[in-house]
Symmetry: none
Subunit: 414 residues, 2 copies
């Protein structure tokens, strides 16, 4: 089955919202082995919608619509499809009753246009809407499956999960299982990673290997198909092993994890607490860590020492260091990491100082960054980075590199 | 000009990311009066991409591509378009030099596949990429404008704003000017706001009034059309005045501003410095403030006192307060705000303490939050909030409310 997802709604074409419904449905369809080859977005215009359907009919045998099932004049998805397929609209009594019940419940007057929401195409399978008024529907006409979903995600998601998924699984003749796993890498560029595994990428069939770069990271999605899902997992294991033999040092985790989650797990498993001293990052490191529930077990606290006055008086960096080397220096990063560890009585201290831009500072270029790591009983290390990008990109990369270096240091420790 | 936006990338069809580039560009194009009639998404497949282009050529005279300009074999957007339009690819020397420079700067080896990123279509206008390697391009062939952008939003957004927008404005034979202005509100719900201005919403024609809710804020976009842009602005002024007479107390700023930007401007204009003491927010307030360039003029520093130990020993909250009232209390918020102001010798101290969840804390419900504001020479105020939502939503709303309360306090001061 090859699918096309057609999003209907002028709010999408005006950029008021992103087409997250297409993202959601694509992910769901991939999981049950349905290929999605196109997404289309069209406004609340019957002629352009019909054109889009004609185009889709030539290239897909599953056409999924989202949006345009509501009560207003703008909502014309099912009217257009009904005309095109020659399937008249009839009132679905169950849907009508539940709409009337809803208005009684919220004690509002039911305006006549709401009745329109209970109209469905004759001969279609109704997909119940447990979180809204307009039902969805599914109908097969001349070897093409059409499925209509409401636009609001809080109605669409449960409708897919509770009703549409089963409908689709019954229609699929394929009994093949699809398993996938994402490998996450940090500290290696996309092109370098691909060069290291070029032969694997060129000869991939099953499992497939899909690289994706974003946010300073690179990921590889490994996807295997097999009637037995255990065997599909083994096939992925084997490819993963080969990849990690080549670029293992840059690998840091699986699937939806992040550097800060991995860092937090590592700190918890080693029973270590941490504190941060942050200049250019302004609190971003501790903010990222405390965004995870359970941060209380590892983060004691932080000092955001944006002014040198705070570096000196609150954190305790020596005035000599600030005077002789400046705040953007190896020496300052070292003292910041050591001082915060002592101040907060934590096992680990991490520091961030540098130039986020847009202006040079102390004669140091934008992107000059020092990350200090102080661990009780070990020599303090300072990493010097030269980063590029906007102010915000530099700050975010600084924190990612900090997590990366500290993770490495913790893993080396055993 | 009628536009179609074609997003290229299998990661979109697999649902790994949402097509936020189409959203961004649609919003930008609407602002300069270009209608977007279709969005299309197609995978990294040359034949299907060519089919999508053929379809677009029949219905648009501006075709915009996003993604597929990178160094890998997957990236085939410009190769496919170049073949289709009969415009050979040639190396752009400036782009090549900047790629080589980039690799030198970050001290990484430049793999040969990176050279591919410097290839551009002969005869095209280059759109410089200030935040990445692959340049964008624009070319007109047989009455159709083609524009190619890189996929990463960090590269695409500035490329559009700094280079592509002007290119498009030059191509437009604009007669009517479209002016728009966004009014931003905080502390009022979308339905309450709409109720207050219901009659205006119902009778809108020119200017139009478009409400949009998101991220705990509500905005109204006023858009007016007129041959004279000054008159269009006056038309907007008049509607704005009526709206602000009704819901003025919730209004905080225009267009792309944010509560933290308004707060920073207010602090700068009053010549005041600030410091924050953060418990549940974990540094989010100072992180948001330092994300803005120029933060050095107002933020002295912050203490993230996640553990009570840090509240007491580093910040100086009395042990009596922690013992008798707990960390999540009016009393603790008051002392935190006062202590941080004194510790950092700032004019203003702000504090955040509360329960972000997922668990109750000190017997206090998730969402219980106290925000303290201490200003030199005035009595410290503490605001008690009861918020709902996820851990991250509670933290973000806490910071927004903090900015909102402090802005009000600063504005009352004169």
């Amino acid at each position: 089955m090859n699918a096309e997802i057609i999003g209907v709604g002028s709010e999408l074409l005006l950029g008021q919202i992103a087409n997250t419904n297409a993202q959601y449905l694509s992910k769901q369809l991939a999981e049950i082995g349905i290929n999605v080859y196109y997404h289309t977005v069209v406004g609340d215009n019957a002629n352009r919608l019909k054109d889009a359907i004609h185009t889709a009919q030539k290239r897909a045998n599953l056409i999924i619509f989202t949006g345009g099932l509501g009560p207003t004049k703008d909502d014309l998805t099912k009217e257009a499809i009904s005309q095109l397929l020659g399937k008249p609209l009839v009132t679905d009594e169950e849907a009508l009753q539940s709409i009337e019940l809803y208005f009684k419940k919220v004690k509002r007057v039911m305006t006549p246009n709401n009745k329109k929401q209970a109209l469905v195409m004759e001969g279609s399978t109704i997909l119940r809407n447990d979180y809204g008024m307009a039902p969805g529907m599914a109908i097969k006409v001349e070897e093409i499956e059409y499925m209509l979903f409401p636009g609001p995600p809080k109605e669409l998601y449960p409708m897919y999960e509770n009703y549409a998924k089963e409908y689709l699984l019954n229609k699929l003749e394929v009994k093949e299982r699809i398993e996938s796993r994402v490998l996450r890498f940090f500290g290696i560029g996309e092109s370098q990673l691909e060069t290291e595994i070029e032969d694997l990428l060129e000869n991939q069939t099953n499992p497939t290997i899909a690289p994706l770069a974003g946010d300073g990271e690179v990921t590889l999605r490994l996807t295997a198909k097999h009637a037995d899902s255990n065997i599909a997992q083994q096939m992925i294991d084997e490819v993963e092993q080969v990849i990690r033999q080549r670029v293992g040092p840059y690998f840091y985790g699986y699937n939806q994890t992040s550097l800060q989650e991995e860092l937090m797990s590592a700190l918890i498993s080693k029973g270590k607490t941490i504190a941060s001293a942050e200049s250019l990052t302004g609190g971003l490191f501790s903010e990222r860590l405390t965004s995870l529930s359970g941060a209380g077990a590892v983060l004691k606290g932080s000092i955001v020492c944006y002014h040198n006055e705070i570096k000196q008086h609150t954190l305790g960096v020596s005035s000599d260091t600030l005077h002789n080397y400046g705040a953007v220096s190896t020496q300052c990063a070292k003292e910041m990491a050591e001082q915060i560890r002592v101040k907060c009585s934590s096992d680990v201290g991490i520091s961030f100082t540098g130039v986020a831009g847009p202006k040079v500072q102390e004669g140091k270029e934008v992107g000059t960054v020092f990350v200090g790591i102080s661990v009780a009983g070990r020599e303090t290390t300072v990493h010097h980075l030269q980063l590029t990008g906007s102010r915000q990109a530099i700050r975010q990369r600084t924190v990612r590199y900090g997590c990366h270096y500290l993770l490495k240091a913790l893993n080396e420790e055993n």
